[in-house]
Subunit: 224 residues, 8 copies
Amino acid sequence: MYLNHDKSREERCGIPEVVFGEGKSAEELVAIVDTFLKDLGRAIITRISPEKTEKVLSSIDINKFLVVHNRKGRVLSIKKKDFVSVSVGRVGVLTAGTSDVGVAEEAAAVAEEFGCEIIKVYDVGIAGLHRVFGALEQLKDAQILIVVAGMEGALPSVVAGLVSAPVIAVPTSVGYGTGEGGKAALFTMLNSCTPVAVVNIDNGFGAAALAYKFLKMNTSGPQK
Amino acid sequence: MYLNHDKSREERCGIPEVVFGEGKSAEELVAIVDTFLKDLGRAIITRISPEKTEKVLSSIDINKFLVVHNRKGRVLSIKKKDFVSVSVGRVGVLTAGTSDVGVAEEAAAVAEEFGCEIIKVYDVGIAGLHRVFGALEQLKDAQILIVVAGMEGALPSVVAGLVSAPVIAVPTSVGYGTGEGGKAALFTMLNSCTPVAVVNIDNGFGAAALAYKFLKMNTSGPQK
Amino acid sequence: MYLNHDKSREERCGIPEVVFGEGKSAEELVAIVDTFLKDLGRAIITRISPEKTEKVLSSIDINKFLVVHNRKGRVLSIKKKDFVSVSVGRVGVLTAGTSDVGVAEEAAAVAEEFGCEIIKVYDVGIAGLHRVFGALEQLKDAQILIVVAGMEGALPSVVAGLVSAPVIAVPTSVGYGTGEGGKAALFTMLNSCTPVAVVNIDNGFGAAALAYKFLKMNTSGPQK
Amino acid sequence: MYLNHDKSREERCGIPEVVFGEGKSAEELVAIVDTFLKDLGRAIITRISPEKTEKVLSSIDINKFLVVHNRKGRVLSIKKKDFVSVSVGRVGVLTAGTSDVGVAEEAAAVAEEFGCEIIKVYDVGIAGLHRVFGALEQLKDAQILIVVAGMEGALPSVVAGLVSAPVIAVPTSVGYGTGEGGKAALFTMLNSCTPVAVVNIDNGFGAAALAYKFLKMNTSGPQK
Amino acid sequence: MYLNHDKSREERCGIPEVVFGEGKSAEELVAIVDTFLKDLGRAIITRISPEKTEKVLSSIDINKFLVVHNRKGRVLSIKKKDFVSVSVGRVGVLTAGTSDVGVAEEAAAVAEEFGCEIIKVYDVGIAGLHRVFGALEQLKDAQILIVVAGMEGALPSVVAGLVSAPVIAVPTSVGYGTGEGGKAALFTMLNSCTPVAVVNIDNGFGAAALAYKFLKMNTSGPQK
Amino acid sequence: MYLNHDKSREERCGIPEVVFGEGKSAEELVAIVDTFLKDLGRAIITRISPEKTEKVLSSIDINKFLVVHNRKGRVLSIKKKDFVSVSVGRVGVLTAGTSDVGVAEEAAAVAEEFGCEIIKVYDVGIAGLHRVFGALEQLKDAQILIVVAGMEGALPSVVAGLVSAPVIAVPTSVGYGTGEGGKAALFTMLNSCTPVAVVNIDNGFGAAALAYKFLKMNTSGPQK
Amino acid sequence: MYLNHDKSREERCGIPEVVFGEGKSAEELVAIVDTFLKDLGRAIITRISPEKTEKVLSSIDINKFLVVHNRKGRVLSIKKKDFVSVSVGRVGVLTAGTSDVGVAEEAAAVAEEFGCEIIKVYDVGIAGLHRVFGALEQLKDAQILIVVAGMEGALPSVVAGLVSAPVIAVPTSVGYGTGEGGKAALFTMLNSCTPVAVVNIDNGFGAAALAYKFLKMNTSGPQK
Amino acid sequence: MYLNHDKSREERCGIPEVVFGEGKSAEELVAIVDTFLKDLGRAIITRISPEKTEKVLSSIDINKFLVVHNRKGRVLSIKKKDFVSVSVGRVGVLTAGTSDVGVAEEAAAVAEEFGCEIIKVYDVGIAGLHRVFGALEQLKDAQILIVVAGMEGALPSVVAGLVSAPVIAVPTSVGYGTGEGGKAALFTMLNSCTPVAVVNIDNGFGAAALAYKFLKMNTSGPQK
């Protein structure tokens, strides 16, 4: 086991350390969770399969912890019952299609665990613009919008042209043909006329972490 | 001079032969124009520079011909005064930005020369959706829309979701960074949720030729 | 379940909403079909596996509906017995190889469901040009040709040079080596000398939807 | 002239309309500036060459306006003397090398024009990490950091691991070999372990606009 | 001057050494020509500009040599008057468009210098298949066909399906949009249903050298 | 079943029609074999799995036919006992590694079935050049060499610099990292200093068919 | 069985021949091991699965040999008990993440077998730079560092800027989105400001072999 | 002027800081040289044009300094007369073609300035392997070989299979068609069977710096 975790990450770079579950064995995850719970009082794992989730949960006394498992988003969070969460703001999460929901749920689950209030509106692709207008009405209290889209990836550009809230754009690998793998969506977002903040393909976690960092941004005056 | 032109092209495949001016010398173009005027009564050249245009025009007796030169679209058309044009339909041409206008003008000039009535609305990018709605109102009589866009290339998808007229999408090489060269726009269009007919990057001619073929499409019943 | 369907799609953008079955669970498809049948009287699903088809069909009383399942094309259509279809025109579907037939059948099944009369000629690759000539004879009544090809993807270019009917070109991911994934075929079609309308790799549905939009194209005069 | 400008952009999507100077002629820019000054009281042009700047400036009575020309950043700003700017926050701008300074200056000039206070530290590549630590000390009052890097593009990742301020990462096309064009830097930033908000290659404007949107972000409570 | 030429190349690997003129200065070429003429009695230079040609020719006593300069193909050949050429066979050279002629002439000039009889038919793209049939009639005595095409690059595939002579396919960088640079044509040729021998983009020399090697191929029985 | 086979292929384009087994069901292959045996007296299938081979063989009376199955090369050949094969020449087949043997065996099996005498030398990568020299000694009677290589793909270039026999180069998809999929090997071969005839990645069949076409090349004088 | 092994490799090019296990059957590996043990006294196999390892080990009398199996690194080494190893130097191996450990172990196992002393520090990504400083302290006696990283691949650049020992950089295919397959990490390393020696993606073996060659480098004076 | 130079680079990471001249103005270079000469006693600039060289040299009193200008390699070195250079070892530099000489000279000039003795053999491509053997004989005293190649880039692999000295491979952007830009050569080198240390395309400086670092490598025993 090569475990070299970074206890001071949150105070140093403003984001709690989160464990990327893909490519790690259940045994490795059990050991990591144990260490995190002891050192930080909370462990958040992304990209965790149902099988590994089960093994991790059977390794702890679940009565002693608060456990949240977002199966669709593949996010598992375990924390001590006295873990103190702080509310940081309101994040809207939109998807263009139903197939983008997994990535959106990863973003939503992580952001919620970080203390964001989440408002979700899914399946509002630009083929039906009236649905976009409806969705934006529902999201009018959100301070930041995370917009998730695969295929041609145009939804974040359209949304960014319609609202003053900043948009974090997440391309997904949903698609086929030239859209397969998400590069078409990624490049669309990078080339958006109205600027959007782009993260890697399928990187729901990254969008959540960014939203969190921006919401916690220092708003006091400089120390002149 | 290697000139092997295809007199029967229009009756065979439904599109008049058009000369691609790029990479041909002024001398070659003069010879080609001479042959076309004799054989077909009309010569249309695309991608022709102002310098070559001047040389070609100085090689003919311009009083004997109808000459149309679209400088922005780089299209030159020369035809005998008795050349008979047939009206085939109404084509709307939109662009997302002012930089896409050169490609749009190539499409418009060729389509007009082929007998299409052209309605143009330029610079209606999706950063200002209200402009798109205004443009579509102006274009409501068009039977086919040619939508030209560079950068993220999302305008054709947005338009196709709003109108019942079929859309021919033309990506342009306008852009920088990952948008340079037009591939981002091309892949956006190929992955559009609402299907659009895509042509090659900067291929204004192709869009015009396709519009013409679709407008001339056989509408009579089958010969059963 | 995130279902946000678009009842007005056909009247707004000229194409009925069709469900993309890939990446959706059988349960999601059952719920979608139920909603569509109630709201629109018809549900069309593409990219549906035999297993999901079975589950969807077992969820309805199949005596009350007209069911068409194109297994090769992976298209399932269910409609109320009194659903009114309108005939819109004649579409020819060609393939270069037998391996392209799945994509061609997707196009054919969708176009037929939309009201097109379909004429199919399969396996007429350009290695045997005499077969192409024979095929075009069979297709002479078609108003639009959908030409499906993988590998080097040259068939649409060859066909477009021989007929006056407009050609919609569909690249397929059939091939190996540099042809794998369909990009070689796609780029061949985009660079065709005789312009063709290109859709995304394996996008049989897109070709059908475009053919339908062009056949329904407004042919009346403008409202001057 | 195809000019269709978007007067309501700022109130709708939170960013003033800015003119992209590349690919527009001096004449077009003169006309655009005239319109903007009349309608909005301010015109900001990016990617403007010294020659075009001169022509634009000679078209106005420069005694009546406040003019700022950032030659290195290729940004020209002209505004009425009574134009009211609002201070929105403090933005740090870092570059990895001296060759990245042009892009950084574009970001700084635009952000400053939008009302941000700018703190610049340039030429602090990761080959000398001690310089990075020094730079971060200088930037400790910045609320958002714009980090600009070409070549291998690792500076934003390193910085994001060291500070709690959110990072907007701008890849530049500075480099040669596989780094040419900026894709290596772009992909490095998208794959950063500590999430950063990525914009298109050389897109200094985009970074500035995003920083501005995030600084103006709604910080009041929701309207429950 | 770093000159390290390979006098034994022809006897070892069956192709005379040919000088690639691009990227070499006129002075370097003059020195190389001098050495080749002394050692081998002949110097062939490809990719040589008119300016360098002039300088090279002015460095020799042109009355003592046979000089052939193919300007369009950018090939210069200089040989002693008593240089003995051997006839090796008949090569047909086709091009799809007039813009491909430069590459075709490079192939033709080199192959002719190597002792091949050349039959040329240019500008027979597949948009007019009847021209292809006519060309093949003219080329029926050719033992090998070199087929040169840019854009979609389909001509070699079509020709290879119609004749029993082996085809060497040369993609050209003629084209725009996705065809720019020749990769679309290259991949088309590599994926041809009827196999063709492919060389690098614009590599007229390579096609000529291959044709020469195949024509000189050992036809006697094995030395058992 | 969409079967449209091409009985006249050999006399027209010089290569017998060969069936590509991948992507066809056993049932389709059984029907195709039946037709081929009736019409042409022989059926050759490439890319056929052991399972499909078994099914095809159980569909015929194997006592009436000559059956050759190359399991490693995945080639199955069935012909009537009175099928007349003609000897056309001697082909050497080399591979760089043992992992390239499958592709080499496809080439060897097809070429042998076409009437070529095959000389094989496998596993002679350039890491041990002395092995290359040894191999070329064994291959000195071969008229054409088929050289198969994955990874960096340099063997064909090295061989072509050492022998006067023409080289057909086959890149393979053997490799990992940037070599995965065969593009590194393909581009090495296309850029070889000594020209080689390149076919698609893993295209053993193509190499065999080309070798056959070149060996059968018309060697008689022209019909002047 | 095509086995053509290269007994003299070590004395010729300074690296013992190592068998690449992927794509070879257990039977082939058994035969290769047998030959290597007889000829060289040692067999090293990389990329060998647990199943093949078991089959290879069951084919030998393991009491007669020294066997080392690195399961995580997929390396198997078998040597005669009297095989003489020579110590060549000290190599440090770092990884950025725990998912890169497999590739690092391949490097470590091979280098150790070649006679290097190995110092390993794993999971020291740049998100926590203090861990990097700690790791370098542990590695201060290493003469060469092998630095393994996926994702954005910035660790080798950071390390090379901090130590005077030369760095061999190994990109890994660990990652998702644009990082998938390792090209982002590879290009980061190639574009590092402080030069590092780069090997192919996931090529732990290559890094080990290079380290060994550099450690054995001729340090005596020239033979003047 | 943004100049933030790194005086301690050599002692920290083992390579003197070298100025990359491309993209910096003559004025910037003059200022940098001035600072470097004062602080370090030496300034080395790579990628410097003849024009900028002249301007830099005219800014100093050249009688007080040792100046070396490698025009072909575009490297300028200026140092105080009492600057102490230390001899570190012997480096061989090979090129495949004459067009690769510019990159090789950059490597040679930098390595020489760093204290390496240089042995150069240029123009020894693999099309004439006997020349390679001759070159290696000349280079037998070199401790490290820098092998520079464009086109197919196979020379480093061939050399690495023949000598025990470690090879640093430099791909060049020399080539055309698919070889243009150097990626074909780069990937060949990364996939070499015998491992080589690869640097970025055209990165002669990187190769020199690496050679220097490896020659200075700690050869004393560990501080146990």
